[in-house]
């Protein structure tokens, strides 16, 4: 029995599933400019850790500036405000979607069109980062996606 226990533990250790990345991104959607040069990106960020994660900076090799903004509608008036950071709660998520939080991708280094691939780097206040890739889509869609 004494020799069996360490053997069992060894077998069980081999059965543990691979750890998930601490922070993941899903449903990434990015839109090329309609006119002008403002692009926008939406995504859901999931925090699988036991501590809140604060995204303090977003950047992209394709754009001079990426900013976090939020559309709010109060008393019927749409306002857009810049957010200095984005907190993703412990074991929780934050969704950036139309009519709410979104990333504004500004001053592209070269003209952006639907089909172009872009990369977004989300830096955490605590150190570390998440890299997200997206293909730019046309704003003009014929389906409801």
């Amino acid at each position: 029995m004494k020799t069996l226990r360490p053997l069992l533990l060894l077998i069980l250790a081999g059965c543990t599933p691979a750890p998930t990345a601490p922070v993941t991104a899903t449903d990434v959607v990015a839109f090329a400019p309609i006119t002008g040069d403002i692009s926008v990106a939406y995504l859901t960020i999931e925090n699988h850790t036991d501590d809140a994660v604060v995204i303090s900076e977003v950047s992209s090799p394709q754009f001079a500036r990426v900013e976090i903004h939020e559309t709010t509608i109060a008393d019927g008036v749409a306002r857009m405000s810049r957010r200095p950071e984005l907190e993703v709660p412990r074991r929780g998520s934050v969704t950036l979607k139309e009519g709410g939080l979104h990333l504004m991708l500004l001053s592209p280094h070269k003209p952006i069109a639907a089909g172009d691939r872009v990369s977004l780097q989300l830096n955490y206040e605590q150190g570390g980062m998440l890299i997200v890739e997206a293909e730019m889509r046309s704003r003009v869609r014929t389906d409801e996606s």
Partner: protein
């Protein structure tokens, strides 16, 4: 003599038959009332009678004049925004173009996008922006004074807000207004907007006009 259970004294209905008849009559009246009473829109605030639009002098995306007369002869959805708006304006224009597909006579319904940022939004800029979402969408711009002849009476707030030292955003009312073929405001849809509700409420209001 023994009476058959179903028979009472001749010529008189059993009480239960009388009750059934009464219920049937009430049900009949009820159905008539329910089907002939007009349904009400789920979300739109209908204005009856419609409020006549004021006179104004603006420019359409194709460079032609856009005035109160431009609304006559067909139904329109009127929405205010600006082309440097990255989120709510494209989202609303997309919702409106989808909603229009959900209306039987939708092809005849115009979508009008009026800029509240005429300094940056030239006729070419609003035209490119609006028409990117499909046919039958007109971008409109012009002098701020003329734009305000429209936004003021319609209760559409707008204000410039600095963003970076070089740029600004424009806060603006997010309502979609339904204008009837007599160039009167007939209904207001407050945001957030839903495609299905825009379609069904507008269909109802057009039918009841």
């Amino acid at each position: 003599m023994s009476l058959h259970p179903l028979h009472r004294q001749s010529g008189r209905l059993r009480p239960i038959a009388a009750i059934l008849l009464t219920v049937a009559v009430i049900a009949g009246i009820g159905t008539y009332v329910l089907t002939s009473t007009p349904a009400t829109p789920a979300k739109a605030t209908v204005v009856t009678p419609g409020i006549p639009l004021p006179e104004f002098d603006l420019v359409a995306g194709d460079g032609g004049a856009f005035t109160r007369d431009s609304f006559e002869g067909r139904w329109s959805w009127l929405f205010f925004g600006f082309t440097h708006c990255p989120d709510i304006c494209p989202a609303t224009l997309h919702q409106l173009s989808l909603a229009r597909q959900g209306i039987d006579s939708g092809d005849a319904l115009a979508i009008v996008f009026v800029s509240v940022d005429p300094e940056r939004d030239t006729a070419e800029a609003v035209n490119a922006y609006a028409t990117a979402f499909g046919d039958g969408i007109t971008g409109v711009t012009g002098n701020l004074e003329e734009i305000e002849k429209l936004t003021g009476p319609l209760g559409i707030y707008h204000a410039r807000v600095p963003d970076t030292p070089d740029t600004y955003q424009v806060e603006h009312g997010a309502a979609v207004l339904l204008i009837n073929p007599d160039a009167e405001m007939q209904a207001v849809f407050s945001s957030p907007h839903e495609v299905a509700v825009l379609a069904s409420d507008t269909t109802l209001i057009m039918e009841q006009h």
